[in-house]
């Protein structure tokens, strides 16, 4: 009976992961090219930052946390977190558009490194 219950739980789990999945690729600017669908993109913000997150979209560049190129153009619409700044590490959720820009609607910032290992969330 125990084995049956365990098997049941396992079956639910496998069924779920097989059908839905719900996992999103975690990429950085250097391996973003040609990916379709929803993507989670992490990198460092590069200026200049122009535009408006509410009207038309906030525009800036993003490159790998380690390494300056390539720089992916970002168009962001949504709520800009408090810690957003040129040079900060951010994580964006969105997709690539036809022109090669990354269109995102969710952004979280990683904290500047001097505040090590204490929770600080800005989602």
């Amino acid at each position: 009976m125990v084995a049956l219950a365990v098997a049941g739980v396992l079956a639910v789990f496998l069924l779920y992961t097989a059908l839905g999945g719900n996992s999103t690729p975690l990429l950085q600017p250097s391996n973003l090219a040609n990916h379709a669908g929803t993507i989670s993109l992490t990198g460092k913000v590069r200026g200049p930052v122009t535009g408006d997150a509410k009207v038309g979209g906030l525009q800036f560049g993003l490159h790998n946390i380690k390494g300056e190129s390539p720089v992916v153009p970002i168009v962001f619409r949504g709520s800009v977190p408090d810690l957003f700044k040129v040079g900060r590490d951010v994580n964006l959720t969105g997709h690539l558009d036809a022109k090669g820009a990354f269109v995102a609607n969710q952004m979280t910032t990683k904290c500047p490194s001097k505040y090590t290992a204490t929770p600080n969330k800005t989602a």
């Binding site: 739980v9 996992s23 709520s79 500047p112 505040y115 290992a117 204490t118 969330k121 989602a123």
Partner: protein
């Protein structure tokens, strides 16, 4: 000063290593004096760790910027309490806190039980000392909080969002929980090492487990509340790896707290309990590894340091040790009785355990997925919120239901008819409640409706139990006093139901609306009308504060201020405005999103019943304390068991 701290840590390392080695030899060769000396060394190691901790605390309070740690985590202007809270604001300090709590717990557990459980304590001491010597080694060799530099004029400071009362209380609370799980693990290991695998280790560590579990649970709620009121994105839990790091050992410990009751009563699930206690301990250490290693991306910031490899090695080594021990002692861990029926108290406990562990492992799978997919699929992928939400529902809702059935179903064997008879009131009430909820429009969310119906069911079972018990004994106080563990458990169950109600209400029935408002304009969200009436600017000691003033009308009346703090350090942070309707426990939560000319983009969230979550936290604390309270009957039972084991 720093030299004293460094020396104290070296002494701690020496003493814990001695306690580990001497304790092991003493236990193996049954040399009583060597074992006693190992125990004393563990107590002394606590003493020297206190000295080290005091040195760091004094340096923090006195803003001694010749300490790299003090320089990196505080600044001159920081008040004493926040300067002190930087003790756990960084990696080295929090490792020191871990060692302090661990050696303190270990010494206390060993001294308290030295007479009654001598045969176990001789092994508990080397196990705890072995674990403590790992932390002492890290502190001495890899991440010393006592590194010095040329004294700087000012420090780098503590990020503004951490200068908050919650951040003073939340991390140490979690640490008391994480580290506390070491004690039951050490006793379990001692039971296996000594070959005395009777139930005494469970009875002796019940309170330790309960206390650790209480701290872990309450600490998480504190963190959730901090995120809710301070961070300002409108939520309280984001399934972030660092949040999950605390949730996983808590779930494993919850399963353990339940399954030990089956072992105490029926002598079953012995192997399973050993696995659970080891799992809880490993997940606690793994949680520390997660927070410290930066192996998994998180919106929490991480120290990318070499310490991760040490922790991974430690987790692997202790897991192998636990598995080897359990396999070695398998013959001693045979069950006294067998499960007789799928419809019994034992079986219900088993289902509860399966769901809890399944939930725990699915969370673990989600946390590890980015690393595992990178290794096996060649591309790092992350599990998103729907994954976690799905499993919380699929395993959490049955758990909620079992919480009502478990305490009422008979041991050994129950019949469907007798069970239905016992549960006739709860079933009736939940059907009526479900119908009423549908009529009230709660059917808009099916999981929400199920959660509420189940909640009504569980709450009714608790009331029925209390009424029945009170009738039998004459008074409620007497009833609870006679069996604190049982009735404290009911209070905790009630708090979990409240938590479920709060979570379901604030997620399944929440309303969000974003709109740009000019002064004088208003928007309506879920029956609340907010009108933007004006903008205020003021200057505090640390920041320029910009506040939009909004008046609330409709179902509730009041004023909400929301805005942005521009700190003089260059950081900014949002200050959310929250209006609470205490009758409905509902919040109107307003975020100042962005300013544009004389207009402001506001995000308004109406979260029904969200305050039930925070109230539940205190009920949880109260119930845990009732269950923890010293109980003469239980002490007698332990002595009786001891006599039995000796005889």
């Amino acid at each position: 000063m720093a030299d004293l701290g460094r020396a104290a840590l070296v002494v701690s390392l020496g003493l814990t290593l001695y306690a580990f080695i001497a304790g092991t030899i003493g236990a193996l060769q049954k040399r009583r004096r060597l074992s006693d000396s190992a125990r004393n060394a563990l107590v002394a190691a606590f003493g020297s760790t206190v000295v080290a901790a005091a040195v760091l605390a004094i340096a923090l309070v006195h803003h001694d910027f010749s300490f790299v740690y003090v320089y990196s985590h505080t600044s001159k202007g920081l008040s004493t309490i926040y300067a002190l809270s930087a003790f756990w604001g960084g990696q080295e300090g929090s490792l020191l806190l871990w060692l302090l709590v661990l050696s303190g717990y270990g010494a206390l557990a060993a001294v308290l039980n030295r007479r009654l459980l001598r045969d176990l304590i001789v092994w508990v001491v080397p196990v705890i000392a072995g674990i403590a010597s790992f932390f002492a080694l890290i502190l001495v060799a890899v991440a010393s909080p006592f590194q010095t530099q040329v004294r700087a004029l000012d420090g780098l400071g503590l990020t503004p969002s951490l200068q908050n009362p919650y951040m003073v209380a939340h991390p140490p609370m979690l640490y008391l929980g994480y580290v506390g799980l070491t004690v039951p693990f050490a006793f379990a290991a001692a039971a296996m090492l000594s070959g005395h695998t009777d139930e005494r280790w469970i009875v002796a560590t019940r309170r330790w487990t309960l206390a650790a579990w209480m701290f872990l649970g309450f600490g998480q709620l504190l963190g959730a509340h901090w995120a809710y009121v301070e961070v300002g994105w409108g939520g309280y839990y984001a399934w972030d790896p660092v949040e999950n790091a605390a949730l996983m050992p808590w779930l494993a410990a919850t399963a353990f707290l339940h399954s030990v009751m089956v072992q105490e009563r029926k002598g079953m699930l012995k192997v399973w309990n050993m696995i659970l206690v080891a799992l809880a301990f490993e997940l606690a250490v793994f949680g520390d590894f997660l927070t410290r290693s930066g192996v998994i991306q998180s919106i929490h910031s991480f120290a990318q340091s070499s310490i991760g490899a040490w922790f991974l090695g430690f987790v692997v080594a202790t897991t192998l040790f636990s598995v080897a021990l359990i396999l070695w002692r398998l013959p001693l861990l045979r069950a006294r009785t067998k499960l007789e029926s799928a419809l019994s108290r034992e079986a219900t406990f088993l289902y509860n355990n399966l769901f809890l562990v399944a939930l725990c492992l699915t969370v673990l799978w989600g946390v590890l997925f980015p690393v595992l997919s990178d290794i096996f699929l060649g591309q790092s992928r992350t599990m998103s919120r729907p994954y976690y939400d799905f499993f919380l529902r699929i395993f959490g809702l049955p758990l909620l239901l079992l919480m009502g059935i478990g305490p009422l179903i008979a041991w050994r064997r129950a019949s469907v008819r007798s069970l239905l008879k016992t549960l006739r009131w709860p079933i009736g009430v939940s059907i009526v409640a479900g119908a009423a909820l549908i009529a009230a429009g709660a059917g808009s969310s099916r999981p929400g409706l199920i959660a509420y119906t189940f909640s009504a069911f569980v709450l009714t079972t608790i009331v029925v139990e209390l009424v029945r018990g009170t009738r039998a004994t004459g008074s409620l106080a007497q009833l609870v006093g006679r069996n604190r563990r049982r009735y404290g458990g009911y209070v905790v169950h009630a708090s979990i139901v409240m938590l479920a109600i709060g979570i379901a209400g604030s997620s399944a029935y929440a309303t969000v609306k974003e709109q740009k408002l000019k002064i004088g304009q208003s928007m309506t969200v879920a029956g609340h009308t907010v009108t933007y009436t004006g903008l205020e600017r003021q200057r505090s000691s640390t920041a320029n504060e910009l506040r939009a003033v909004l008046s609330l009308s409709g179902r509730e009346h009041g004023t909400i201020k929301t805005g942005i703090n521009n700190f003089f350090t260059g950081d900014t942070s949002k200050a959310v405005g929250i209006h609470t309707d205490w009758l409905r426990l509902e919040d109107t939560y307003v975020i100042f999103d962005q300013q544009e000319g004389n207009a402001v983009f506001f995000k308004v969230l109406v979260k029904p019943l969200v305050n039930m979550i925070w109230v539940a936290g205190f009920v949880f604390l109260g119930g845990s304390l009732v269950a923890l309270w010293p109980d003469a009957r239980e002490q007698r039972r332990l002595v009786a068991r001891l006599a039995l084991a000796r005889g």
